[in-house]
């Protein structure tokens, strides 16, 4: 079948009917909400109202939170840093698992791995957070083992490491699922050809499989990073109020003061940062990769 025929035909018909319902709902409720958030960030907070309706707009909130001192930049940086470490580690350990699942021929192994993977993906994040609080608590399993072996207790909760571990636990199934597709798409005959030419399995992996799965791997990494940086309940419980990420900051500032415009100013810069990183890096890298013949 000549797909070029179909593609050319479809250029003339209109998809509006199909796209309208979802589009309208999204534009109104979602884009509308975000636009209103921006507008609100330009308002001044008067106690007694959440949403402000005055006619005067200014960037005062931005100056307060993002101009006067660097405190919030610190929290933003913490989020980016902690999120980054967690993402990199998660993708690194997710890749072997995704590779095994895509390439293994033994049905039983595949089924077991898939079951564990899907199970850990769908387990509620409350459960995941709770279980790590238990593990990392002063009376938790890790400390129990340490004291049993003769070491002194280690305080985990409230450290960067605790949050990172929790994030890894959360990101890992997502990263694995996102990587299976790109790895599967690497044509196994290419790997066979490389082997035929004398490459060992390791070489095949680094020379063929990894490079060809790069676009998908990058997409998966960016998705994980966006999720990691925006994490809320994981840093809230595993960070114990000491490690604070941007989502926690926005939430706690608002719950303390009900200052909606102020929160909005925090939120908008946070949002802009994440969007910039996600879409910006994506475009940068896809442009470079297209030069190598991936596009």
């Amino acid at each position: 079948m000549r797909d070029v025929d179909r593609d050319e035909e479809s250029k003339h018909r209109s998809p509006i009917l199909f796209l309208a319902p979802a589009f309208l709902i999204f534009v109104f409720f979602y884009a509308g909400a975000l636009i209103m958030l921006f507008v609100q960030s330009l308002q001044t907070y008067t106690p007694g109202r959440i949403v402000q309706v005055s006619q005067s707009f200014s960037f005062a909130n931005y100056i307060i939170y993002w101009g006067r001192n660097l405190v919030y930049y610190g929290f933003l940086w913490d989020s980016l840093r902690i999120g980054g470490i967690a993402t990199v580690i998660s993708v690194l350990i997710a890749y072997p698992l995704a590779h095994k699942i895509s390439r293994t021929e033994r049905a039983l192994v595949k089924k077991t791995l898939l079951t564990v993977l899907v199970a850990t993906f769908f387990i509620n994040s409350i459960v995941k957070v709770y279980s790590w609080v238990i593990m990392q608590g002063d009376a938790g399993l890790i400390n129990e083992i340490l004291t049993a072996l003769g070491y002194s207790k280690v305080r985990f909760l409230g450290t960067d490491e605790a949050v990172i571990i929790g994030l890894i636990y959360f990101l890992f199934p997502i990263a694995t699922m996102a990587l299976i597709g790109p790895i599967k798409n690497v044509d196994s005959t290419l790997e066979q050809a490389a082997g035929n030419l004398g490459a060992t399995n390791t070489q095949v992996f680094f020379d063929v499989t990894l490079p060809l799965s790069m676009p998908g791997t990058i997409a998966a990494t960016l998705l994980c990073y966006a999720l990691a940086v925006s994490a809320f309940i994981i840093p809230m419980f595993l960070g114990s109020g000491i490690v604070l990420m941007m989502s926690n900051i926005i939430f706690s500032r608002y719950s303390e003061s009900f200052n909606y415009p102020g929160g909005a100013a925090l939120a908008m810069v946070f949002l802009a940062t994440i969007l910039f990183i996600a879409f910006g890096i994506n475009r940068l890298l896809t442009k470079r990769l297209k030069g190598f013949g991936y596009g």
Binding site: L17, P96, I123, G263, I274
Partner: protein, 275 residues
């Protein structure tokens, strides 16, 4: 040692190392779950070293008898169910428009629909709080449903698009050729073929709806609140094993999901469509 033998050695060493890494990974994944299950049966009301001195179901009772949690469960099921339904239907239509047609701005539109995945959920929830108040939607149940449609739509669009893209168009042409109108073709041929994408999308949507805290927390109130939000609030003050019991029950629900997926389409097909 020459290069060839070096690579051979890496190959031979590599396999057991990768195996060890995989096993450690699996262990790392399963351990916290196991611990939580054990704790849920631990009668002590403070967190202490394992193993528990006895086994008890008091925390399950505590959870199931708690009216707050039960209300949360009801709300979560209702909100999840309704938003999944809406999201799935919208997702089918939107996917069809995105996959079958070519137009300027298609990629941007696609990114727009998928953006709730990337936009921090706290920001989404916070924004909706202000907006929904302004447009007069004050009921928390309505607010939650709208919010959950927004956060679940990316999943349904993603899965249905994946199945539509891989779909053999000549099947639809054959139906048209045999006399079926476009509507009939869609119902008789297209829809059954994308069934897997639709089911996968619905499963993701419902699970993500049940999972959400950071959006729902801004939109719930004292009367209508979702279960995860209620658990979240509980955990802020008390850390007793009631949450462990709730966790085990939620895990049971996860097991249910997996059984359903396996029965309907098999796990590997699901993962193929999933992300």
């Amino acid at each position: 040692m020459d290069r060839f033998h070096l690579y051979r050695m890496i190959d031979l060493l590599g396999r057991p190392i990768v195996l060890v890494v995989l096993l450690l990974t699996l262990f790392f994944l399963i351990l916290p779950i196991v611990i939580t299950i054990i704790i849920s049966f631990d009668p002590r009301s403070y967190l202490a070293y394992l193993p528990p001195p006895a086994l008890s179901v008091r925390w399950y009772e505590s959870f199931l008898r708690n009216p707050n949690f039960m209300q949360g469960l009801r709300t979560s099921v209702v909100v999840g169910g309704v938003s999944t339904l809406i999201s799935t239907v919208l997702g089918i239509f939107a996917s069809y428009g995105l996959v079958r047609y070519d137009f300027r701005g298609k990629e941007s539109l696609n990114n727009f629909f998928l953006s709730p995945l990337v936009v921090p959920s706290v920001v989404t929830g916070f924004a909706l709080l202000g907006f929904l108040s302004t447009v007069g939607i004050r009921g928390s149940l309505e607010r939650l449903m709208i919010a959950h449609v927004i956060i679940t739509l990316p999943y349904t669009i993603r899965t249905v698009s994946a199945t539509l893209t891989g779909f053999d168009r000549s099947l639809e042409e054959a139906a048209l050729n045999l006399g079926a109108t476009p509507v009939r073709t869609f119902l008789d041929v297209t829809l059954p073929m994308i069934k897997f994408g639709v089911v996968a999308g619905a499963v993701f949507a419902f699970a993500m709806s049940l999972d959400d805290v950071s959006v729902s927390i801004f939109l719930a109130d004292a009367f209508s609140s979702t279960l995860p939000v209620n658990l979240f609030a509980y955990m802020k003050s008390t850390f007793d094993p009631t949450v462990a019991a709730a966790s085990v029950l939620l895990m049971g629900f996860t097991v249910g999901i997996i059984i359903v997926i396996e029965k309907v389409m098999g796990l590997d097909k699901f993962v193929g469509i999933g992300v």
